[in-house]
Symmetry: D2
Subunit: 375 residues, 4 copies
């Protein structure tokens, strides 16, 4: 694993737990973790449960005892590491967004395609697909429970940038993060919209905004401000291939919304709604029922017949955010063992990247509709 901050800790919890809960065809061993600071990475290895520590990702990639490289670094380094790992014969799990640019993402897709012919797999970490409630939503939509989709709306709202004193962290610098709320939150939003509806966005219109343009530079003295080079918020809309309307809003300045990824799909036969702040619940309206008894129904997604739930606790005993990483690990290990392609693939990641690029293009061109290139 490369990187051991927030994402690295979450992935580690996934790797440590997956074999304790699920029956797996492969037993993952946590070989080595990589980071630039020698002391810090050694401490992280001990705490997170990795057998060894490396300070150069190239050394990690070169290790014989590593068959899978899990990339948890900022987006700017994804392409280089992933391509090198694939070329070194490793399977790759890469955090989202797949890359910071479409060109990088395209190169990664090419590398993954070549690797696939050698039996390697590549997966991108859109972990929210593996929230049981959203996995159930996907199943229900695929089974026709909402009919023809008319509307998809996704808002992903956080509030940690409301405070103008919040420092200029790497997530606020274009060279590191690629974009702001758009790449961080919007990538999830777009992937979920396309995944749930089962069809791609084909055009978008967008607006982006940075409300606080200068912030304190970490490590500098008080009053030293640097320029924020990414968006605080983005508002965009578009069409899915079927003609359904999709509405998106992502923000890091929505006071009181901590991690409010809200998804709603309205179709001709029903509707589904979800809020990550209540992640064990899926709201379902069955429009084929008699209106006198119809209404949005709170499905507590904790039954053993629900996705992933047969291995966990009895009904009503909810899971948390980190379980998405356990499920991601399960599905990736099964795909490796079965020789199948895990989803979401690098192509899925590229598809998201193309939407995000079109969003930025539209925002720069007075919101005019931009077609999203399809492969």
């Amino acid at each position: 694993m490369v990187g051991y901050a927030f994402m690295g800790a979450a992935h580690s919890q996934g790797w440590r737990t997956v074999g304790r809960v699920f029956d797996l065809p492969l037993n993952p061993a946590m070989a080595a973790v990589c980071g630039r600071d020698p002391a810090a990475v050694r401490a992280a290895a001990g705490r997170l449960g990795w057998a060894a520590a490396e300070t150069d990702w190239r050394a990690l990639v070169a290790r014989d005892d590593v068959q899978l490289v899990d990339i948890c670094t900022p987006g700017a380094s994804h392409a280089e590491i992933a391509i090198a790992a694939l070329e070194a014969g490793k399977h790759v799990l890469c955090e989202k967004p797949l890359a910071n640019t479409v060109a990088e993402a395209e190169a990664m897709v090419r590398a993954a395609a070549e690797a696939r012919s050698r039996g390697q797999v590549a997966m991108v970490g859109f972990n929210y697909r593996r929230t049981p409630a959203l996995a159930l939503a996907r199943d229900m939509i695929a089974r026709g429970r909402v009919g023809t989709v008319r509307h998809v709306r996704v808002a992903y709202l956080q509030d940690w940038l409301v405070d103008p004193g919040f420092p200029l962290a790497w997530r606020l610098r274009r060279d590191q993060a690629g974009s702001g709320a758009l790449g961080d939150l919007g990538a999830h939003a777009v992937d979920l919209a396309q995944h749930l509806a089962g069809e791609p966005l084909v055009q978008v219109t967008a607006q982006t905004e940075t409300f606080t343009t200068r912030r304190p530079v970490p490590g500098e003295g008080p009053g030293v401000l640097g320029e924020v080079t990414v968006d605080d918020a983005a508002l965009f809309g578009g069409r899915l291939a079927s003609g359904a309307l999709a509405a998106f809003e992502v923000s890091r300045v929505a006071a009181g919304r901590k991690n409010a990824l809200r998804v709603e799909v309205n179709g001709t036969a029903g509707s589904l709604a979800f809020d990550l702040e209540r992640l064990n619940e899926l709201q379902f309206h069955d429009h084929t029922q008699d209106a006198a008894e119809a209404g949005f129904r709170r499905i507590l997604v904790t039954e053993d017949t629900h996705p992933y739930l047969d291995a966990w606790w009895p009904p009503g005993h909810g899971l948390g955010y980190e379980h998405t990483f356990v499920h991601q690990a399960r599905d990736l290990l099964r795909a490796i063992a079965d020789g199948t392609d895990p989803a979401p693939s690098f192509e899925d990641g590229l598809r998201v990247q193309r939407v995000l690029a079109a969003v930025e293009e539209s925002a720069g061109k007075n919101s005019v509709l931009i077609p999203v290139p399809q492969t």
Copy 2:
């Protein structure tokens, strides 16, 4: 009152009740109601409590015992009736949208301005401003409880057009209704956004859609379909004068959403959220509180210190939809008695109309941002 269908019944309930609940400087007498079908309008007069019935709105406007004309007809006739009533020296209350075109709305504003110099008032029926929870929201925003506004999002979702067998009623015909979800629901959404934020929208980007393009013609035999000439749904976004982002979605095909007018305002000091399906509640997050105790708070807007509530029931005894019309009547009568201008004015109605026109223009021009003309 001209018109006695849904809106006419709701307005009548307002006129009948207002003097029974509120202390008023003026006592309204319900002189006459007007409709085209003589038998039906007489029956409506008896049922709704109007002393007389007319079949020609010109006759109604000409009556000496009428000082106020309340216009509850489809949008296409608003301008003609309102201008005639104002010219005849009557006060006017006109249902929303103010008109079907900007040109009509401008003419109405001119007529209202002239009438104002003669001591007459003109008001447009954006009744949701008078939902106590939204009136409280307006007060709180004006008092700075959310700080500087960053985001306004308004969705107004209904589902009565999901069924493709729903007939081609007047609300689905451009010549009668002007537009579809846009004029009907979007007018409320835009007025509320501007009213709550206390500032106008200055540019918009939009998409509109008609999913079901042909519907059964009422009164015709089975299988006779006519063309739907208005939108089923519209998705638009824009900027308020301050730079805040505003996101709108209106639809009549959102299965399971019956009358879901949801408003959220995020500012630097707090956030407010409202859903018309739970109209006695206002959600408020105070971002200035210690995060350890902060969160969205459900204010049950039934205290006697809340807007309009001193005249109603004890705390917790909720009001309904129709009470907005009682409150509208109260405020209009007080304005007439006081010689002040009631809000929302025809200028407010024109401001909404200009946004809706810009939305339609943007939707017709690949969603490119369209500036909204300001007075």
Copy 3:
């Protein structure tokens, strides 16, 4: 109508509105209102829409133009007025609780039985039965949608007595009110439990409590305190005839709960839940569905197929507290016209009174189970 305070105002709104909304076989005329203070009752008559004012209820009862006497006074006077009105040949609507003692209630039932033989009707004002959501709940239970009832739980929580400075109003004096939260809130709770389940409570165990025992006497100088002679809260449980368990809690000191009448029924085939603070909603869990798609469903009780809703507004346009009085008026007028017995009858009121008496007896005898006498 006798009494014109809170209940009188609510009933008046019912009488004024019922004929404007519903098609009725009888057209109610609001003949006269009665109260002790001549000036105040005249003002109330004017404001509330009554043609005449009386200061002696005996005079009201004796009026030839009065066919129905609506009793909105404190419980202590219900028996005397109701019996006199019935003996004078009037129909009677009596606010709940039916009386302050079982003996009074029994006398009222006898008077109602005699009057029934003369073609008069008598009804007690358990208005919450006529909340559309609770009327729907009753229909669904009667149709078997929850199967065999196992649990009924009703909490009715308010908070206006949390403040120790709240004065010693009539509702806090045993001689006027009979009891405290028990008679005021508990009467509704018990009636709803028996009405929804369709069977009586047969035994109860109870605890009652008065937390603030002395309060300021209205009209006296500051610091003059009088003894509170009723309960602040009561906790009781019991069995329905079928063996189902029923749990009750009523309180006026539950901070933050304004008018939280919460009802839940759990049966072998499903469950229903309701909260008066969200009175347009009924939660329904269908336990016969596949668990993978089951869950509590929010039925927005605003469809025209729902009880009372055909006469009101389109789906999603909610009603309020006062509409229960319109519906009560409708059903009473229809019963009078049809010559049928309206429900809830005085017998129903007596049944509640017997439960409340058993609750007080149990609370006085160390909570031992007390059988509730059945007729």
Copy 4:
């Protein structure tokens, strides 16, 4: 660890994870797990991460490499194992309920007291105290945020026994489980009430019920039914030492309620409410605020200033049920290292047991109030 079923799996997840997330003074090693079936316990050891497997708990207790015995068996064996482990010089963590009888619990308390003098600790597994939201609730009550407590109400509702075909598992047999919903769910409910309020229950009145009295015997042929010897549901109420009223309801036949542990505390300065089905949320009403802005506030208990949360994910990234066991492990290890007494102690467990015994006594004596013996 003794036992490796549901509780054993949950505890194992706690032991495996605690050192990966929290900074600990002691590093737990998972020495051995014990169960009666040799093959099954070996498989469990491998899967759950225990170094060795034992088939006799006495052998486990005798192991030199075991310093702490974690008891996850049915209640009937708790006393014997716990006392033996304490006498063998081990620290003990015992699942709730502490025992099946008061006498057993008293013996355990004596053994724990003796062991304490030798530096050993004993803790009972009321894990819900360590749900962050409930830990926050306890802190807030202790800090006076609700003032003087007036009401505590706890309902713990499940529905897995609605189906009469559910088999006669050990939890339905008095000789194994001691009691039914009462000991299983009621133990949590009573512990939380006493813990949150910070004072004991001093008297109770109760009713219990078994709706389905015969169920299929596991391992027997179809149609072989055995007698259910525990309660399906219990309804009880009582007084806390301060005079506050406490209301309890526990059931395994509440259709649609999966794991609905709902707690509400109403005090003179505010109220708190919690539902385990939404375990990351705490509702708080601050009654000292201006009523115009007051209301129940949803605190998303995911801030790093909230209990246990500094070690987990960013705000809004919720935890699940199993995290209570991680937190339990943390607090126990810290107590061992610090030489302090961990809570809840065996005395706390005994206090709960005495309440449950009083509940059963009251239920057997026509619900008469039974005093709860205090130490």
